[in-house]
Structure formats: C-alpha cells, structure tokens
C-alpha cells in the first residue's frame, strides 16, 4: 500500500535524483515551523469538543465525588492515600501488596490502545490523550484572544505594539490559570479534596502540595501552550509503535487519492468531466493542512505526525459541500479500500479480524480475572516466615521448637479477633508472643481495623513426638474469624533435626 503512495508522490514530480550546489550543506537541525491551526466545524470537531468537555469535567471534579466507606475510612471516591498506603477507587480498596492489580490495569490499558489502533487508528491521540485535550483547550484560548489562523500569522509577523503585547499577556495569563487549576486538581487526588482546598486557600497545606501544583502548572503551560504538536512528533513513542502495528484493514484518517488525484481547479475538473476525462476532486485548497493541529498534509499519505483527530475531514467536507462534490474525500478509511476502489471494487470493512478478536479476548480475560479477584477479595490474611536462623531449637527436655514471624492482615472496617491454629502436627503446641490463649491452647490475636499485625509464633513439638516425625514436616497456620467464619491459611515447614542426624 505504501508503495502506492510513494509512486504517486514521485509522479507528482518532486524528486529526480539531483545534486544540489555546494552551498547546501545538510542541516541536521531546523527551526520549528510554527503551526497555526485554523478553526473548523463539523462532525469530528463536535466529537472532539464533547470528549474534551467530558474529560476535563472528570479530571477537575472527580476528587470531589464522595463515597461512603464507614466512619473510619476516607469518604473520597477516588483517593491515592500515599501517607496511609491505601488506594481507593469507588468500591475498590487496594493495599500496597495488592499493587499487582495495577499490572492488570496496565495490560488492559495497553491492549485497549492496541484494539483502538487496529479498529480505528489513533483515536486515543486525536481525542483522549491529555496532551491532545489540553492542547486543544489552549488553542481555543489562543483563538479566542488572538483570532483565527490568518490573524495570528499576520500578528506574529507585524511589529510588537502595546495592544499586541496586552493581547499576548492576556493569553499567557489565561493559559497559566488553566495550568494552575490543572495542577491544583492533580493534588486533590492525593488527599481529602474539600479539606485540601480549604488548606490550600488558607496557606495551611503541606509544602509538597504547593510544589506539585507548581510542577504541574509549569508542565501543563509548557506542553499544552508551547510544545503542543512537538510532544506528539518528537517526544511520544506511540506514533512509532502505532506505525508498526497498524495494518491495511485499520481505519485511519486517509486521503482517498483514488478520488482526489489528479488535483485541479473546479472549473477544469468540470470541463474534463464533461468531456468524459478523469478529473480529481481535490482542488488543492490546502484547508486540510490549515486546520491540522500538527501541521500534517494528509494527502501525502500516512504520517507519524497525524494524530487522526479527523479535523481535516471536517475541513474537506466543508469544501466539498461548497463545490457540490460528495463528502469523504478525506475520511476514516483503510488501505485495502483505496486499492479496491482503484481496481473498481466495492469497499469492505473488517473490524472483526484475528487481531481485534485476540485483543478483545485478552482484555475480557484480564478484566474478568481482576473483577473476580476484587469481588472475592479476602478481608483477612496471614503470611508466615520461618526463622532462618536457627531453623529449630532443641530444648533441655529434648523437645524441638520452631519459631515463625506471622503477619496478620485485617482488611475489615472494625477490630477483629482471630484464632490461630497449626495444621500438620497434632502434638505441637503454639504460642503467640503477646497474645492471649484460649482454653484449648490456641492463641487468640486481635488486629485493629484496616491494619496488619506482626506476631512471633513459637511451635513446640514434645520430645516423645520428635522421633516419630520426619526431619521436615509440612505444616500450615490457620486463621479463623469466629464471627464471620472467614478463614485464611499460610503454608510453612517444621524442622526437627539436621539432615546428618537423620542418617545416623
């Protein structure tokens, strides 16, 4: 498919192998070509506005959404409580040792990106990526203050007047305000939002909050106000990955060169059509280039710089309406269809392909596994570590003791008592240092709400039983919550003697 574009361009007459004059030394760096995207209206622009509004609303207001978790837990729906090492996401509460959920989230995120790409190209880049959303917002501000493309180009060329300086100052002020609010919203995800807003306003908030607001204000202002498309073209890895992962069946913003070429004026095209000669629909008005936020000419074929926002489609459709030609000279289309149309065949769309099915299946599997583990998440847990040194201790009466460190976890909202037991050695007695013991000899351990407790456990096997068991016995610590009936279990070992003592 790519060769098709290549040959077309070559036919366009740009390149004959040539040696330029000695004065032209290859320049490895170039000045940035400033992009002045023109305003446009249409179907894709409306989608872009809607997504922008929704994404920003979620980002700015989500921290204020409340979620009742009882009196002892925070009531913020989405909260990354770093100080207390808890992540809250609506009904989900994640402890540090459960960060593996994030692996699942990352797999789902990556595969969703791949799936989007396989179905409809870089719609993430064009509509959802924060870089796109904020750049679009900053461009709207620029347009509001300084006018549209033509005006801005003109103003940038003309000398600096007081009025012009005031206009620039106003633009940067609004940009900085948006950037500052962006940074402000960011820190709200890490602490109780209403409290933090009050603290920030009264200068009572911790320094780190102001610092992060400062950092985010700076990066937002820099990336959305100044770097803009440079982030997509030079800094982001996704265009390269996308270029490697797209295929001839993926919908991409495509210039239908089968219909557009050869380019000519409206008049000439009408004459040629009247005469039954082939005539392209492209009138070379360059509107598609003018509206492009990354300065791409989509007619040259797929481009790393194209974020596939579809604004050129809106621009081109507007022109096609004016010259009374059908829509869709530029459209979300596939390479396959360009070839098919050139061969006179009907276009085909294959959103269901092995790769899309595979992506969807993996997303579904990972998603279900995560959902299942979240819904069946235990609210109590026990982890055991056998003392490494010494492995066992022979006591004065010949009995043998093994010591363990247990970490008991109570993920419940209230204090709970657990009965600790040992499976695998009937004769062994267990003692938990600092805990009470039931009448049957099993320790009862209390763990506070939403907490863990570390305990030293001694298990002692009487002398008469030592000889009867193997050198290394598989045992398990069991934890039982009498009130809820919930149980937890941790496998361990019990050592009775050294290996060379066995051979004696």
């Amino acid at each position: 498919m790519l060769s098709l574009f290549g040959s077309k361009v070559a036919k366009g007459g740009v390149a004959q192998e040539r040696i330029a004059s000695a004065a032209h030394v290859a320049q490895l760096y170039a000045a940035r070509k400033k992009v002045y995207p023109q305003s446009v209206s249409g179907f894709y622009r409306n989608i872009k506005w809607a997504v922008l509004g929704l994404a920003l609303a979620v980002y700015y207001f989500l921290p204020f959404l409340r979620w009742d978790r009882g009196p002892l837990a925070p009531s913020q729906a989405v909260l990354l409580d770093l100080a207390n090492r808890r992540f809250y996401f609506f009904f989900i509460e994640i402890w540090p040792q459960e960060v593996y959920y994030i692996t699942g989230l990352l797999i789902i995120a990556a595969l969703t990106l791949f799936l989007m790409n396989a179905v409809a190209g870089r719609i993430w880049c064009g509509y959802l990526c924060p870089q796109t959303v904020w750049t679009d917002l900053f461009l709207a501000v620029e347009r509001f203050v300084e006018g549209d493309r033509r005006e801005r180009m003109l103003k940038d060329k003309s000398p600096l007047t007081l009025h012009r300086a005031a206009q620039k100052a106003l633009k940067h002020f609004i940009w900085l305000m948006i950037a500052w609010w962006t940074g402000g919203a960011w820190v709200l995800y890490f602490s109780d939002a209403p409290t933090l807003v009050r603290d920030l306003a009264t200068l009572q908030a911790p320094f780190v909050a102001y610092m992060w607001i400062g950092i985010l204000t700076f990066t937002t202002y820099l990336l959305a106000g100044h770097a803009r498309e440079q982030v997509c073209i030079y800094m982001c890895p996704w265009p390269r990955i996308q270029a490697a992962m797209t295929d001839e069946n993926a919908l991409n913003v495509t210039y239908r060169l089968d219909r557009g070429e050869p380019r000519m004026s409206v008049k000439k095209a009408e004459q040629l059509r009247a005469a039954g000669e082939p005539a392209g629909d492209c009138v070379d008005c360059d509107q598609c280039v003018a509206v492009c936020p990354t300065g791409v000419d989509i007619r040259k074929g797929p481009d790393l710089g194209c974020i596939q926002c579809g604004l050129c489609i809106d621009a081109c459709d507007t022109v096609m309406h004016k010259i009374d030609r059908p829509d869709g000279l530029i459209a979300f289309d596939t390479d396959v269809n360009i070839v098919r149309r050139a061969q006179g065949k009907a276009p085909i769309y294959r959103p269901i392909r092995p790769r899309t099915v595979l992506y969807a299946a993996v997303i579904a599997i990972v998603g279900s596994v995560m959902l299942f583990t979240l819904l069946t998440r235990a609210t109590l847990g026990v982890a055991a570590i056998h003392d490494r040194n010494p492995l066992f201790v022979k006591l004065s009466d010949g009995s043998v003791r093994n010591s363990y460190t247990l970490r008991l976890t109570n993920k419940g909202a209230g204090e709970r008592s657990f009965v600790l037991g040992l499976e695998g050695l009937v004769d062994a007695k267990i003692e938990a240092v600092g805990a009470n013991t039931q009448s049957d000899g099993n320790p009862v351990i209390t763990v506070g709400p939403d907490q863990t407790r570390e305990m030293r456990i001694h298990a002692t096997l009487p002398a008469r039983a030592v000889e009867a068991v193997r050198r290394e016995v598989d045992v398990a610590f069991t934890l039982l919550d009498h009130l809820s009936g919930e149980r937890a279990r941790a496998k361990e070992h019990f050592f009775t003697r050294l290996s060379h003592e066995d051979s004696k």
Binding site: V14, I19, V25, A30, R32, Y234, V393, V433
Partner: protein
C-alpha cells in the same frame, strides 16, 4: 560527510550524507529547541559540579559552593530519626521491664530496636539469629547458665560475664582439672561417663561408681549432687540435652580438662540502658525466656 546535498529520489527528502552499502539516511532535521535542551542540560551539569562536591581530587573531592556533604546529611537524618523515635523511646525507658510485653506497640518497638542492636553488637558471637555456636550460647534454648528471666538477661547484658573491668560482672570459673593435674586422665574419663549418666547416655561398661566419687569430690560443689547446676556460679545444668561445648563424651572430657568459661563484655560500657532494655526484651522473646 559530503558537502553536497544528496536528495533521495523516492521521497524527495535530502539525505544526511551518511551511506552504508548504498543505503542513505534521510535527513529529517530535529527541531533546534531539542538541541538547545541538550545545551541546557550541559549548563545545568556545570552548575551542578560547581554547587555540589563533584570532581575527585587526590585527597577527597571538590567541596562545592553549597558545602553539602553526605556525612552531615546522615547526622541530620539520624537526629531526625531520634526525634521521631523519642516518644516511644521515652516510654520504653519509663516502662518497667516486665510490663513492656503488655503493650503490643511498645513490644514491637522494643523488639525492632533490640533486633538492630543485636545485629550490631551481639551477632558476631551469638550468630545473626541468636542461634549461638560452640562456646557461645544459643539464646533460643530454654537452658540458661546465668538465668533466663528478664531481670537475669538484663543483668547479664549490662555487666557481662567474667568481664573484669565491671565489678558487678558475673563471675565463676571452672578449674582446669586436667591441665592443672587435679585429676588424671582415668578420673576424667570416669567423671565424664558419670555426667553422661545424668541423661542416660553412659556406656554400660562404664565404672559409674568411681566416676560418681570423682564427681562428688570435685564437681558437685558447683554443679550440684544431681548435676542440676547453679546459676549463681554460672555452673551449667548437666541433666539437659542442651550443651554449650557439645554433649559427646569427648566434648565433656575436653571441658573437664580445660575448665574455664566464656567471656561476654559488659555492655553498659557501650550501650545506654534503654537499648539494653530493648535487647533484653528481644532476646527474651526468642522463645527461651523464663517468666
């Protein structure tokens, strides 16, 4: 590099002039600001070198304008840590030894402090986990030479064992029965057999009667008639299955010959009382501690 620009035929893009086997690199110039960011990082680096210690010299490194150094940062961090631990440390200092166990938070604090102090001060002899070695007691076992109650352990750590510079140190030395010719080899062998009989391990052919006689005349004063030992004198109980220097006949013979006893420093010379308290709780918590 050629100073003539070669333009690629297919793309119409100039090449950089680099060529590998006929393959030429297209020149898509990087924006100049990107180059400037590299210059900016170089300038940053120079500033960094000037501000912080950086360049190695023969005796140390350049000091840097900030005067920062890692040592003073450690001192500052340590004092912060002490301040942070202060309240718990004070609480530990005030709480009677026996009551530390009753407060689970304090117990956890004391164990953690004790664990760190143990690794630094005690582990070289008693082993990383307190498992001991020949001549260095296993602190997990329930047989104690000088006592295993909290107060006993605290006393031992504070004043040491056979540590002459501390007047309150634990003392008591077993004579070198063999080396000083108090007993002959036969007598030593017989008494060793007799000691083994406390744990029913004596050889059937052994002459226990003469062993008993030797024991009563030489050993019973400290180890007791029944071999139960005497903690005031540091005379070990000989009727258990825990042996500091090994429990075979050869081990016992060697001990009777040489006598003596191990030495432990008086830790009050080096550690403060609260740290010793934490160590006591930690060692008692190994599992062998007596109540």
């Amino acid at each position: 590099m050629s100073n003539q620009v070669h333009v690629d035929e297919v793309t119409g893009t100039a090449t950089t002039g680099h060529e590998w086997d006929g393959i030429r690199e297209l020149n898509t110039p990087l924006p100049r600001w990107w180059l400037y960011t590299i210059y900016a990082t170089i300038i940053w680096g120079i500033g960094y070198i000037a501000y912080y210690p950086a360049l190695p010299l023969i005796d140390g490194a350049t000091k840097g304008m900030s005067g920062w150094n890692a040592r003073s940062e450690v001192v500052e961090e340590l004092s912060k840590l002490r301040a942070q631990r202060g309240p718990m440390n004070d609480k530990l200092a005030k709480t009677p030894l026996a009551d530390v166990k009753k407060d689970s938070e304090l117990l956890a604090f004391a164990s953690a402090q004790g664990s760190a102090a143990f690794a630094t001060n005690c582990a070289p002899c008693h082993g990383a986990g307190g498992q001991g070695a020949k001549g260095y007691p296993n602190l997990h076992a329930d047989r104690w030479i000088w006592g295993g109650k909290l107060e006993d352990i605290q006393q031992t750590i504070t004043h040491g064992i056979r540590w002459d510079s501390d007047s309150k140190t634990r003392s008591g030395v077993m004579p070198s029965f063999g080396r000083d010719k108090i007993l002959n080899e036969d007598q030593i062998s017989q008494v060793a057999d007799y000691v083994l009989s406390f744990t029913n391990r004596a050889d059937k052919s052994a002459n226990l009667a003469s062993g008993k006689k030797v024991y009563e005349e030489n050993c019973a004063a400290c180890h007791g008639d029944a071999g139960k030992g005497n903690r005031d004198l540091g005379a070990p109980n000989l009727t258990t299955q825990v042996w500091l220097y090994g429990g075979t006949k050869a081990d016992i013979v060697e001990r009777v010959r040489l006598g003596g006893g191990g030495v432990m420093p008086s830790w009050s010379e080096r550690l403060d009382t609260t740290t010793i308290k934490a160590l006591t709780v930690y060692v008692h918590g190994f599992g062998g501690g007596e109540n």
